[in-house]
Subunit: 441 residues, 2 copies
Amino acid sequence: MRLSRFYMPVLKDIPSEAQIVSHRLMLRAGMVRQQGAGIYAWLPLGQRVLNKIANIVREEQNRAGAVEMLMPTIQQADLWRESGRYDDYGKEMLRITDRHEREMLYGPTNEEMITELVRASVKSYRQLPLILYHIQWKFRDEIRPRFGVMRGREFLMKDAYSFDVDEAGARRAYDKMFLAYLNTFARMGLTAVPMRADTGPIGGDLSHEFIILAETGESQVFCDRDLLELAPPGPDLDWDGDLRALVAARTALYAATEEMHDSAKFAAQTPKERQVSARGIEVGHIFYFGDKYSKAMQAMITGPDGQDRPAQMGSYGIGVSRLIGAIIEANHDEAGMIWPEAVAPFGIGLINLRVGDSACDSACAQAYAALTAAGREPLYDDTAERPGAKFSVMDLIGLPKQLIIGPKGLAAGTVEIKDRRSGEREELSLDAALNRLCANG
Amino acid sequence: MRLSRFYMPVLKDIPSEAQIVSHRLMLRAGMVRQQGAGIYAWLPLGQRVLNKIANIVREEQNRAGAVEMLMPTIQQADLWRESGRYDDYGKEMLRITDRHEREMLYGPTNEEMITELVRASVKSYRQLPLILYHIQWKFRDEIRPRFGVMRGREFLMKDAYSFDVDEAGARRAYDKMFLAYLNTFARMGLTAVPMRADTGPIGGDLSHEFIILAETGESQVFCDRDLLELAPPGPDLDWDGDLRALVAARTALYAATEEMHDSAKFAAQTPKERQVSARGIEVGHIFYFGDKYSKAMQAMITGPDGQDRPAQMGSYGIGVSRLIGAIIEANHDEAGMIWPEAVAPFGIGLINLRVGDSACDSACAQAYAALTAAGREPLYDDTAERPGAKFSVMDLIGLPKQLIIGPKGLAAGTVEIKDRRSGEREELSLDAALNRLCANG
């Protein structure tokens, strides 16, 4: 992409309303623009990151055997009356009345709708197990939206729902999502720790939040340091095999959010030098709630014994839009954001230090073509800005690598590669630079 | 994908509420399920087609130089008061009040929001031209939603918006979208004819609808038969070159929707044997409306002469979810849907006629692995259903090719390939079949 043809309205002033660093940086870099309290337009730079995160989530859901679908944002009130949550949900539910005075709502979550869908078509244990998911906009009318996309009202969520004939099957689905989440967050460069959590308005008696540690985290969390060192299961995991040991290796170690924390248990279970108490950001939340919805809504499954019973269910959420904020909170410095490779909006920032100089223009054209062909997604700053401004903007938006081409270097036969995270710079020939950058895509 | 692990709830009975063939087939095949009047859940089979259509739209928008972003579904009423459309829009606008009694709405279109975004950051002709687009859910509270996803209330639309400093620039943006649309629809196997159209609530004085002809079309249209024969401009078009001749070659020929039809002009301009009067389905609509929004909302651009003027704008829509219905209306037979290759939910239906038979199972496993590796996206019917039921379902969902593997054929050293559209069948060895099917992906 040529910057002159892109739309990236960088702000010079730091917006005063933004309290946390991710919100400030996203506004400054022109990734989002507020369109109402807790409602954001995703400008092109932000949309690209959102899309990359959603794709990683999608790939890891598919790998674990979940099947993608897409439920609408608007739901009927009657559906929520069946579960009893229409009245329970309170003011966070955005209630809507249409032209025919029908009561509707903007979905904050989809347990009811998916239960209705499955009860209409799934009758026998032979049709199970089933994990369905979608990536769709949700709305929760938070009383005080804040922290930018970290706690917005309209937000993008991946929510999956599992259906099984018995508790053992449901636990297996839970374990699949548990492990899929570890792989998902690891691919984004995040270490997410599963922690026992409160089930809240979703209900049920088993639940884990996936928490990443960051100084600016919204809540206090407690865990065993060993959990931070455990490698994710990885893409070669046999999803049809026994997953219990992999999950148990993690749940055996202490980890809890503030609401579930038991300091005596923490101390008894965890050697002092391994006790971590830190701030955390929730990026995923999984629930096993058995027959809470299937019983109320009569989603019955005939088992191998010929008996009908309510389906055993769980639900599994990842805050896709919130993750952008979380990744920035965990990856930035004074100059701006530092994107992990897999979610960077572009792979390489190509800076032309003197647009109009024929040597610079032609070297940049060559680099742009080669990097594009190699799938490295360069963002080419071909604007007439001065070098200092170009450097600041490129550091601000935090692409993993920069390739800097200027007249002085070219006269000496060199260009410069800068690694955004380490700050390391290296001068080398254009060919050597392109070989290097095209190879590590 | 193995059908046993997929979720495709095929209906045995033809739903009586569905009036048109695309709606009936989508319900029967388990592509969608109604969740309220004009509101649908996209089940996995439908979601896959929706995703393929959206991706083609996206690729062709990008090729023409439009830049993707993503605006929220919920908008502030005040924004629409600036343009005067908050009161004008009427009951089709879904109006919402939040917990703080703020007036909001579910966006039916985004002219106001994009104008607000651009006025905040674009001040000079040097920052133009600009075409921004997003693919996002919209809501129009139709009084009588019908025809399934063809006229739903919650629907997925691609809407693009162009900004230029003068009319010549705006006309150029219009021409780009005009030609990009021809390529977009052609890739989906559709011949879409641009027709002069009424501008309706969007406003302006230049507008074309893109119409595909289908017996079940919603409105009467009139055009010169030659327009149906013109090849699309194709992917090698130079988008930076002069596009006027390509557009003029089409606009010179008569084509109009019913509201704009002038029968005297039609007769004068079109030889009798080339006069087509047919039913049509609108799949895209483009508008040039000059300064209608930029003037009301003060989106001012400084020109090369140093003078400020309102930006010249246009907007460009494609009904992504509606297209699925339109494609089915134009591509089906008595047995079911017939998907054009580029938008088929899967490329090949692989039918195992005797699951449990070791020769069948191992030949199917080999075929499934080879087709998957070749990127042909097979849907493998590995269920215990009887052959007749498998054939019906595979014909109903209309994948372009079927590979049928059974014990009798294998004993004779053959498998069968069926072309869904022509109905042609061919017996050949498994290796030859796989060579053929893997090659034409």
